[in-house]
Amino acid sequence: MSEFRMPSLGADMEAGTLVEWTKAPGDTVARGDIVAVVDTDKGAIEIEVFEPGTIERLLVEPGQKVPVGTALAIIRGANETPGAAAPAAVGAPAAPVRTRVSPAARKAAEQLHVDLAGVVGQGPGGAITVADVERAAAAGPPAPKTSTRAAGMRAAIGAAMARSKREIPHLYLSTTVDVTQPLAWLGLANQARPVTERLLPIVLFLKAVANAAVEVPAVNGTWNENGFVPGAGVHIGCAIALRDGGLVAPALHDVDKKSLGEAGRDLMDLVSRARAGSLRSSEMTDATITLTNLGDLGVDAAYAVIYPPQVAIVAIGRVVERPWVVAGRVEPRSVVTLSLSADHRAVDGRQAGAFLAAVERALQAPEAL
């Protein structure tokens, strides 16, 4: 038996609301299957399971908001018999887990006009106590219950970015790259493709960043209390602006192993699902490096803030025509400024520079991407 728990879908997530179960007790699940949908500040996320087995029991009902780490369901492993005694780690709770609120905390919440749904309990067993309510009240008139998702997301992004700037010693490098040739190549390549499969310039950058991350693995991974943890693959977090404001950066998995066509198709899928609010839990959690493109907003260059616990983020400015010296002559060329923000605990300047150089080199050989 194992517990299927509310995952943390980002550095800033404390709790999520179970929207629906897509599996029922008795259903067999394989690794990667979606078992539930959870609503977070980032939108509705489809939650995948990591261990194969059979759903033994659902512990949380749709509509309940539970802290990260709360057991949501019990999954019976392939070789276990139904109803076998749960392992010690599972503990007793067979009944649905509901947020525990002490009677005094309920009274205090009423008096202080605190919405308990937004309070994280620190009492025994995670119960919300008066102290938690008072802390929530002291934190100022919190996001009122009527607050929009955008406000919640703003707060979540704020928390993650504040943590990043507080904890991560950023180093910044930038380089301006002549992309005339790669864009010309892309134009030709797209002529041979059906309209629906045409590649956007961003796909070239995605692949170039992925290949460079393979070459300089120090930028690809996460930083925890024990130090740098190399990424299990190259999963590029793609910063995607949402239509109603806000931003998510779900992971595009194994970009280094994908063809340009696959990467382009998968990116489109990711963008449309991000905007539809149906991202998957793995996409929310396992990015190893992030790419953000601010070029379409008209900025020449951007220096981004790392999304913890990742150690690097690449920002792309806009592609502009500039007088550029090529082989001793000034020519009009399309250039773009790429920047790397890196966690100086994990990456030194030399590695950072090598990485940007590798991105540039990869861009210059688009046919090899």
Partner: protein, 334 residues
């Protein structure tokens, strides 16, 4: 506690002084029980009183609890103010019919015409390796009975002062003296007098958790509170003193401030006094609670003879510390 002059005295001697004072002040008062005269009492409380007051007022009785408790009730009905000593609470069960069916009911059954102003003293509790038939804490059983008042002096001052107050009560009063307290030594104010037996007292002030206890458990609770204070947890320790009627106001007042309660009771948990207090808190102070009510009680076994097992059976300070800690938020991870 006292500001004026004090003197060192044991709980046993304080109790004896209380009896002596009662005998001196009121000619209607006499003491009777097994071995209270020539032997001086099973716990030496009445040592010397026979010589001082004579056999009319210090009466040895046969080994028959039902008989001498019944005689005490009769004497009270007849106008005396008897102090009846029962060796331990275990033996009082032999007189339960007299206590519950007679002493406690006569006022009611006589339509208020008769009252029974008897005081029954008995030893209670474990800690002296006296084993199962001499060491139980059955106060809770007797506190179940309407018509009785149950008091349990935990301090020297209460041992000295409660008896006289009890003798003023027109109804039966049972005084429980914990066996391990007789040798307790402390400072008694020179002017110590009668003690209120209506109200519980706060023996230690604190704002984090209310610890409700009585008798010898007061000292283990205070020791636990001192340990917890070193970690910044302030316990308010309430000494019930009177187990029937319970002074719930003092408890409610404290719980409304601390919002957390641990009840420490040497009695058994099931159907015990701690259960009664917990139920009343749930009835009347539910919305003031910030954590479930905790109880630290004796193991549900007959009290064992071997020291290590006896210690294991009754609540110890460490168990109280653990119970209180469980009521508090987990310390922040470092």
């Amino acid at each position: 506690m006292a500001n004026g002059p004090t003197r060192r005295i044991t709980y046993r001697d304080a109790m004896r002084e209380a009896i002596r004072e009662a005998l001196t002040r009121d000619p209607r008062v006499f003491l009777m029980g097994e071995d209270v005269g020539r032997y001086g009492g099973a716990y030496a409380v009445s040592k010397g009183l026979l010589a001082e007051f004579g056999p009319e007022r210090i009466r040895d009785t046969p080994l028959s609890e039902s008989t001498f408790v019944g005689a005490g009730i009769g004497a009270a009905l007849g106008g005396s103010r008897p102090i009846v000593e029962v060796m331990t609470v275990n033996f009082s069960l032999l007189a339960l019919d007299q206590i519950v069916n007679t002493a406690a009911t006569i006022r009611h059954m006589s339509g208020g015409q008769f009252s029974v102003p008897v005081v029954i003293r008995m030893a209670t509790g474990a800690g002296r390796q006296l084993a199962a038939q001499h060491a139980h804490s059955l106060e809770g059983w007797l506190a179940h009975v309407p018509g009785l008042r149950i008091v349990e002096p935990a301090t020297i001052e209460d041992a000295r002062g409660m008896l006289w107050t009890a003798l003023q009560d027109p109804d039966p009063v049972l005084i429980f003296e914990h066996q391990t307290l007789y040798n307790l030594e402390g400072d008694l104010p020179a002017d110590a007098g009668p003690v209120d037996i209506d109200r519980a007292v706060v023996r230690r002030h604190g704002g984090d958790v209310t610890v409700i206890t009585y008798g010898a458990m007061l000292y283990k609770s205070l020791a636990a509170a001192a340990t917890l204070a070193a970690d910044g947890v302030e316990c308010e320790v309430i000494d019930l003193r009177t187990l029937r009627p319970l002074d719930m106001n003092t408890i409610f007042e404290s719980v409304r401030r601390t919002r957390r309660v641990a009840i420490v009771d040497e009695g058994w948990r099931s159907g015990g006094l701690s259960a009664e207090i917990a139920a009343r808190l749930a009835e009347s102070a539910f919305y003031d609670l910030d954590a479930p009510i905790a109880r630290v009680c004796s193991a549900e076994v007959p009290i064992p003879y071997p020291k290590h097992l006896e210690d294991a059976a009754v609540p110890q300070a460490a168990a109280i510390v653990d119970a209180v800690r469980a009521l508090l938020p987990a310390p922040a991870p470092r």
